[in-house]
Amino acid sequence: MHEWALAEAVISSLSEITRKKGLRKIKGAYILLGEMQNIDRKVFRFAVRELTKNKKPFDGFTLNIKNEKTTLKCRSCGNEWTFSFSSKMPEDYLEAIHFIPEVSHVYIKCPKCGSRDFEIVKGRGVWIKSVKGVR
C-alpha cells in the first residue's frame, strides 16, 4: 500500500498552497486519479482522512476524486488507445506500472504498429485539478 505516500504528496502540496496563498481554511480539493496507476481509492481516502485529522486548515475538508481514463498515443504511427487494469497482463507487470507508470513502456506496445515509443497523454497518476479555500 504505497497509496499513503501519494496522499501525503497531495496533502503536502495543499498545505503549501494554503501557506503561499495565505488561506485560512482549505475547504476542498478536486483530484484526478489516472487509471494507469490503479490507485486504491479507499486506501487513498483513508490516508487523506488520517493525514488531515486535527490539522486546523483542513477542518471540514472534502475530497473530490475523479477517475481519469488513460490515453496512450503512438509517436510512430499516431494511433491512440486506452489502457486499463482489466487487461490480461501478468500481475507483476501491473504491479510495476502501479508504482512507476512509465515502466509501462517495458510491458505495453502500440496495438497497431508494435512500437513502444508512445506518449502517456492522460490518465497517468495523481493530479490536483482545483482547490477551494477561504482567505
Binding site: H2, A96, I100, P101
Partner: protein
C-alpha cells in the same frame, strides 16, 4: 498541479548529505565510484542509501551483486538492503528489459521514485547519475536542493571536454561541488588534472586503473579487497561538506 515535488524535500529531511556522483560523460566510472563509496561508507558504520538514476544503463545492482531483492511497501516504498546499503533502482520495476523511454518519462519516473521512497534516517544518500545533463540531472538540481556533486573524470580529451561543461553548468546553477575525482589513473598524464585546476574546485584524489576490479564486480566481499576501495578510502576524508560556488 503535480503534487509530488512538494513532498520530495521532506523525503530527504533526515538525510544528512546527498552526494551525486556525476560526469556528464559515460563510462568514466560514475557507477563504480558511487557504489564503492556507498559500500565503504556503509562498512564504516554510516547509514547509507544508494539510488541508481541511470534508467538506460542501470549498473549499481550489477556492481554490488544485488539480485532477487525488492522494496517492501509501508506508507510508500522502503528500499531493501545490500551490504547494509538501502538501495533503489529502476530495475525493481523494469527488470532486465530495456526501458526505451524519452526524457519526459525519465523525469516523471525519477519524480515518482523520489516521492514514494522512504529513506528514513541516513548519513549519506549517494546518487549514481546517468551520463549527460538532461532530465535526470536537471531534476536533481531542481528538486533535491541539498545535493552536493562529486565530479568524476578520466585523463582523456573527450572526457575533459564534457566534464568541463558539467562543472560550468553546476556552478552556474549555484550547485555545491565537493570536488573532482580522477578515475582510471595510469602512470604518465597529469595534464588533465592541470587543465581542470583552472576551475578552482578541490581535487579529492585519484583512483588508479585497477585490473582486478572487473572480476570483483558482483561481490561486495571481493570489492572490499580491491585496490579501488583503498583509493576510495583516501578520498572519503575529503568529502567534508564544503560549498564551492
Amino acid at each position: 498541479m503535480d503534487p509530488r515535488p512538494s513532498l520530495i524535500d521532506k523525503r530527504v529531511k533526515n538525510v544528512r548529505r546527498v552526494i551525486a556522483v556525476a560526469a556528464g560523460k559515460g563510462g568514466v566510472g560514475k557507477s563504480s565510484v558511487a557504489s564503492m563509496l556507498a559500500l565503504e561508507l556503509s562498512k564504516r558504520g554510516y547509514k547509507v542509501g544508494l539510488m541508481d538514476l541511470d534508467f538506460y544503463g542501470p549498473s549499481a545492482h550489477v556492481i554490488l551483486g544485488a539480485r532477487g531483492i525488492q522494496p517492501s511497501e509501508d506508507k510508500g516504498i522502503v528500499p531493501p538492503e545490500v551490504s547494509g546499503i538501502k538501495f533503489m533502482s529502476i530495475v525493481y520495476y523494469a527488470g532486465d528489459s530495456p526501458c526505451p523511454i524519452r526524457g519526459i518519462d525519465v523525469s516523471n519516473s525519477i519524480i515518482e521514485l523520489l516521492t514514494i521512497t522512504r529513506w528514513g534516517d541516513l548519513d549519506f544518500l549517494v546518487l549514481d547519475m546517468p551520463p549527460g545533463f538532461g532530465d535526470s540531472t536537471l531534476d536533481v538540481i531542481r528538486l533535491l536542493k541539498k545535493t552536493e556533486f562529486v565530479v568524476v573524470y578520466t585523463p582523456s580529451k573527450v572526457v575533459i571536454e564534457t566534464v568541463e561543461k558539467l562543472v560550468k553548468m553546476l556552478k552556474e546553477n549555484k550547485v555545491s561541488i565537493l570536488g573532482l575525482v580522477e578515475n582510471m589513473k595510469t602512470r604518465g598524464s597529469d595534464s588533465a588534472k592541470r587543465e581542470l585546476k583552472d576551475f578552482g574546485i578541490p581535487f579529492l584524489g585519484s583512483i588508479w586503473l585497477d585490473k582486478g576490479f572487473e572480476n570483483s564486480t558482483g561481490s561486495p566481499e571481493k570489492l572490499l579487497k580491491t585496490h579501488f576501495i583503498k583509493d576510495i578510502r583516501s578520498i572519503i576524508p575529503k568529502l567534508k561538506a564544503r560549498k564551492v560556488r
